[in-house]
């Protein structure tokens, strides 16, 4: 067995929604590492290795005592830096006794942790996820915890929206997506896929949001930030009102937000949101849009869920690699190249687990 992983460790990953982390112990598995999260008295978030130094019981099975964690087996106490501050029945504390502390911070309504080398954990490197701040853009998302697939399959899914035509027919899918040309650009750490569909019948979801009859121009501008953030600037405007030229005032504009965090090589946590700049005070609409995405198996993301987990099972079973690619995969390929480059830098060439994509 090699230690090579399919995910870089030196990166900020979403670990929880801010509102999920209170003054109690909350367990997560991030990049194959068991982590216990809690909010300290000063409001900051801490993240410790979730295994007692002594006999490995998950610390999340213990309890908080002030801002320290008490193991639920023999009562060892660890402070927020992971250092042991109490051992039962002995006065001298082994100075090497500690659990790992992971850099953790909050930004854009999420808690982010850095599973790699703490010396490299620069807060300025937290991905730009400002759409999620809840000010200009409004929405209510959720999380698929432990989605049973490689996090890169979710990125593939989001970077090519032609799948909407087949997976989401009847809501956001439309033949126009497949037939419209698209453009792919990239920087060293981002890739952008831009697709404009001009003068089309709006698909049901967007017709409803726009609330006005007529043909529309539809846009999907998908933006990837390595290693695992995808943001889609999406919407429709009445045809001829200037949206392709920059004037979206006669349209409706939304954004889907995805922070995809590897849990293991074959599972991930998918933090999602769908935010909008129209009817931002309409809480009923907020709930409706949430339900359009996740709704007891009938939402758009529920449909993706089934496809992604089925795809992972097929990959596990099928020795045929690498994937074959189509033109539509251009965006996903750039994303995977960036991930591969991060892995090479981090693990060296020899330890490199190649992305399953190849042309």
């Amino acid at each position: 067995m090699t230690d090579a992983k399919s995910f870089p460790l030196n990166a900020w990953y979403a670990a929880a929604w801010s509102h999920e982390i209170e003054h109690r112990l909350e367990a997560r598995t991030i990049c194959d590492k068991d982590v216990v999260l809690f909010r300290r008295s000063d409001g900051q978030v801490s993240a410790l290795e979730d295994a007692c130094w002594h006999r490995l019981l998950p610390l999340s099975m213990g309890r908080l005592q002030g801002d320290e964690v008490v193991c639920g087996y023999h009562g060892l106490v660890f402070n927020a830096a992971g250092r042991c501050t109490y051992m039962p029945a002995q006065k001298t504390i082994n100075p090497s006794a500690c659990v790992r502390a992971y850099p953790a911070l909050e930004k854009h309504r999420l808690v982010w942790i850095w599973p790699g080398d703490p010396a490299l954990a620069d807060p300025a490197k937290v991905p730009d996820f400002h759409w999620n701040d809840g000010t200009e853009w409004v929405g209510e998302g959720g999380t698929f915890y432990n989605l049973q697939c490689d996090y890169r399959l979710v990125i593939d899914n989001l970077m090519d929206l032609t799948h909407e035509t087949y997976v989401h027919a009847g809501s956001i899918g439309d033949e126009a997506i497949t037939s419209s040309p698209f453009d792919v650009t990239h920087t060293d750490t981002t890739a952008t896929v831009t697709r404009w569909m001009i003068g089309i019948e709006p698909p049901p979801f967007w017709a409803k949001q726009l609330g006005r009859p007529g043909h529309v121009d539809r846009w999907q501008i998908i933006y990837f930030q390595a290693p695992s953030i995808v943001v889609g600037d999406v919407g429709v405007a009445l045809t001829g009102t200037g949206a392709p030229q920059g004037d979206r005032s006669q349209g409706v504009n939304g954004a889907f937000l995805a922070a995809i965090t590897p849990a293991s090589e074959k599972s991930c946590h998918y933090f999602w949101n769908f935010v909008r700049t129209f009817r931002t005070d309409d809480e009923q609409l907020t709930r409706e849009i949430n339900k359009a995405h996740v709704n007891d198996g009938r939402g758009v993301y529920d449909q993706d869920h089934v496809v992604l987990e089925s795809q992972q099972k097929a990959i596990d079973k099928n020795p045929r690699l690498p994937f074959y690619n189509l033109n539509i995969d251009a965006g996903a390929l750039w994303a995977r190249r960036m991930i591969d480059r991060m892995l090479e830098r981090e693990q060296g060439n020899s330890a490199h687990v190649p992305s399953e994509a190849a042309e």
Copy 2:
């Protein structure tokens, strides 16, 4: 890991009952290969590899469009020969884009597929299973899909019916089976076990079928066709009426039919039927006999089911190999020798997975 398998690939295997395959996508796993089956507009059956060329999603999650299969993820289309005829958002189709098409045909009320080299798939080699045709012989069978055992354990079971005395006491089991002599003959691809029990009390099932008092002569003539068909010519006739000499007119004659298809090394699909030449118009009897075999855990085959899966678990756990054999295993040993020979021819000696049976 070696590629050696315990089942030959160059053989026709039952994949479904004819009535199960309609104009819709139906998934099966045959010899470790995921296959999607469907009936075309011309009534013929097609079998394709059940994994899209592009990103491996099972094609059985998509839909039929005429006689072509549309992938449920990105809409690639494959014709009945497995060739890709449509790719989303591109005009040029990669000429190498295809999924494997397996030779498939219908005969004797079953759909058969050939998971090996298509060039060798001679329709004339479909096993003789004419008892199942529903003309001279009448009955209604079923399938144990994904029985959790090596298909060869089912063959062992059927090739030696002394197990009836112990597993099926109270219905078809009888001490006479164990105490009566038997004879084993074979050709290059078949083996036959013949056992006559003369002047015995008929066991409950057969007493009921015969419907007349008195001692009987009971026969069990079990016929194996490599690699995985077993047919049993079974019945009873009043003693002294000439059945051993060839006149069965004073008796009742049935046949059990078994087409056992490897799903994986340790699971199989067991297509069974029990047909008869007596009271062939009696549909009530047909249902009764079906129920005597499979009846919510209480039927004869349900009893075998438990034994076979328990045996597989014991084999998995128990490092003691090979099996020890008794005289009663002579028929099963010939069957396994034939399978071994097919494997040797197909895989070469070095790749050969030896049958677990040895004397």
Copy 3:
């Protein structure tokens, strides 16, 4: 894969409570060996390998015929010594046909079996478990069959009772356990941890048993017999009445009894009892104490159960070995050293699986 195990085979292990073994077939897995137990007509207990010589079906799926076992598949018969006495359809019995017979006997209300070399199975070596005889000491215990952890984790748990403070707060846990000094002694095959807590408030369970107000002296004298018996002499007496000096007449005295039998490397059967010398006629109290230990997830041992299985999962996931140890682990370390020595003698140094404990 090596054959080295974490448990010695040349030892008597509890396999069942005496009352569980009647004149019928009862399956157990002991030290990775499947065993079928039954009581013979003469009242003695027999233990055979639970896999037929012929085709490995568990004999426990068959039936008893007098004091012989009939296989449920083909009817082979094995006597209590494991020798085959009948084979179907053949007169000559293969003289090598037999299943393994394990030395088995009853003592101290338990059935013990010796999974190792029968020549070494000296009945005098059955562990001293006289507290369980039901004469001087009274109580009613139970078994956690297939507890999902290495049997040595249970020994660790019992050899250090500071865990009571954290795992069993509110019943038998108390800060005094952690703060009181303790003493560890040992012989070649036993280890003893002695802890006296002088002049303390009794914890709830003991206050109730004592039934008198006032401070108490509490004792916990834990006694290990290699490889897997732990007995705890525990109780409280009113402070100043001489208990530390040997006069326990003003107190209440109980004993917890643990026979921990490896089922596999990562599972075990935990036979437990809690016996007492006070109010021995009070059956209501007997039931109450039983319920205090196991009560649908709320008993003291239920709490240990969760901790032990969680710890095993953490060990499986966490590559960090060996364990780190504290002063409180001194008793457990002696226990593990004795087990290690037994393993070395039995398996030789090269095959030795080291205990996971190290200082």
